[in-house]
Every structure is written in structure tokens, then in C-alpha cells.
């Protein structure tokens, strides 16, 4: 699925990284535990989270995630947007809550990270 389709499905607003909207992704993880992302997430997937702080962006960066979507209307401040811009990562915000966001993306063909795919 292309990121611009993800954006449409979740009515998400792009905060930085528009240049990645044409990229294809195959997996996503919905996660408020950063250590879970670092342990289980597949790289190049989308990370959906309800947390907003610098370590969320650092985690996505270290785990080679493709992009971050902040759910339930969470919106990072300018400092975090600048950091994401620095590392060339697409970040978006959507009003859609976590459970619904994941459900919509899953129903449209995105896969999760099964434990057997770890590392």
C-alpha cells in the first residue's frame, strides 16, 4: 500500500516528509511500548502510536521504521517535527483512535509483525 493511500484511509495530515507519500509499505505496528518496537517490529513498516515525545522518533529511527502516525489527534511540537525532518522520516497525525486506525489499515491489506519474523 502506498503511504498516500494510508493518509487517505485515516484522513491523516502530513507534518513532514511529503516526499515519502509515494513509497510502498507492507507492514505496520500499533505500539505505545517502545521496547516492543525495538524487539518485534519489522523494519520499513509504519509505526502507529499514541505517545508523543522525542524517544518515539528515536525508536522509529533506530528500528528503521518507515514512518510514524500519531493517532487520536496527538500532534508533536515543532521540535519533534524538525527532528523527523532532519532524519528524513514521514510523520502524520490522525484523529482516528489507535484500535480503529490499525483495523482500517489491516482490513485494507497491511500486515503486522508476527513473532516468527522477529529480528
Amino acid at each position: 500500500m502506498k503511504l498516500n493511500q494510508v493518509q487517505r484511509l485515516l484522513s491523516a495530515a502530513v507534518l513532514t516528509g511529503e516526499n515519502h507519500l509515494e513509497d510502498e509499505v507492507h507492514t505496520a505496528c500499533g505500539c505505545d511500548l517502545m521496547s516492543d518496537v525495538l524487539r518485534f517490529a519489522k523494519e520499513d513498516g509504519i509505526m502507529l502510536t499514541g505517545l508523543v515525545n522525542k524517544q518515539v522518533i528515536n525508536t522509529a529511527d533506530m528500528a528503521n521504521m518507515h514512518s510514524i502516525i500519531f493517532v487520536r489527534g496527538k500532534k508533536p511540537g515543532q521540535e519533534l517535527i524538525d527532528l523527523a525532518k532532519d532524519i528524513d522520516m514521514l510523520i502524520m497525525t490522525t484523529k482516528t483512535p489507535m484500535f480503529e486506525s490499525c483495523g482500517i489499515l489491516y482490513a485494507n491489506g497491511l500486515k503486522g509483525a508476527k513473532p516468527k519474523n522477529e529480528l
Binding site: 505505545d32 511500548l33 517502545m34 521496547s35 516492543d36 525495538l38 524487539r39 523494519e43 502510536t49 505517545l51 515525545n53 522525542k54 524517544q55 518515539v56 528515536n58 525508536t59 529511527d61 533506530m62 528500528a63 528503521n64 532524519i87 529480528l119
Partner: protein, 139 residues
């Protein structure tokens, strides 16, 4: 060793925490290390860096690169870990609520560092500090 650099990590500085790991990742990319190995090092280094900021009284990360392998040493000046077996158990954490609100404190950092490294050794002494040595083989 062909290349060696160290990064200081301060206690409770969650503004700066993560910067050492980002610099390490950037350095390894510039050195032409393969992406899979970089990801292992970035993840293990970042969990270690967060542990320094969260649990230690301050410490440092030392990156050493040679043609065969990459060494990552993460050491601090205290307070040390009283029960290493317990600390290495998945799910065990003494992190505060503030740290949990940030998305950390799942008790998976140390086990995940061990999983990502080809060699992992941890030593700790209460009142002295903790030292973790990790190596990552280069093909």
C-alpha cells in the same frame, strides 16, 4: 582497532538521550557497514543508552570498529545492579511511572541487547557501576 569514539550519556537527560545512538548509526553508515548489522547495533546501543539515562548515574558508550567486528561498550558510574539474573529476565523493570509514560520500562532492554549482539557480557557491582560489552561480527 581502526576507529574508536566515545559518547557521554547523562542521567535523566531525555532531551539528549538517543543522540549517541543516532551518531553511531550515522558513523557506521559512512563506514559502509551493512544495514542489517547497523540495525542490530543501533537497537542494542539505543536500549543501552536509554538504560544509562533512565537507571544509571551517568556513563558512556564506546564504539570500536575494526575490519572483523564492532565492539560496543556501555559503562556507568553507578548505582550497579544487585541481581543480574533478575535484571536479564524479560519483563523485569524498576523504571518509574514517568519513564513508562515515555514508552520505556517494559523490562526488555537487556534481553534484547543480548539477542541483537553476537557477543554479550554484563558485569555489575553495587556502588560501583555496570559494564556491558557487546560485539557484532562483520562479514
Amino acid at each position: 582497532m581502526n576507529y574508536k569514539v566515545n559518547f557521554e550519556v547523562e542521567k535523566d537527560d531525555f532531551e539528549k538521550a538517543g543522540e549517541a545512538s543516532r551518531k553511531i548509526k550515522k558513523t557506521l553508515k559512512q563506514l559502509g557497514v551493512d544495514n542489517k548489522t547497523i540495525r542490530h547495533i543501533a537497537i542494542a546501543g539505543y536500549e543501552g543508552e536509554m538504560n544509562l539515562a533512565i537507571h544509571s548515574d551517568g556513563g558512556e558508550i564506546i564504539l570500536e570498529v575494526s575490519s572483523e567486528k564492532i565492539n560496543l561498550t556501555i559503562q556507568d558510574v553507578g548505582p550497579g545492579i544487585p541481581d543480574l539474573d533478575l535484571a536479564m529476565t524479560e519483563g523485569y523493570s524498576t523504571a518509574s511511572d514517568k519513564v513508562r509514560e515515555m514508552g520505556f520500562g517494559a523490562g526488555m532492554g537487556l534481553p534484547n541487547m543480548e539477542k541483537n549482539a553476537d557477543f554479550f557480557e554484563i558485569h555489575s557491582k553495587v556502588g560501583k557501576g555496570t559494564k556491558i560489552q557487546m560485539s557484532f561480527n562483520l562479514k
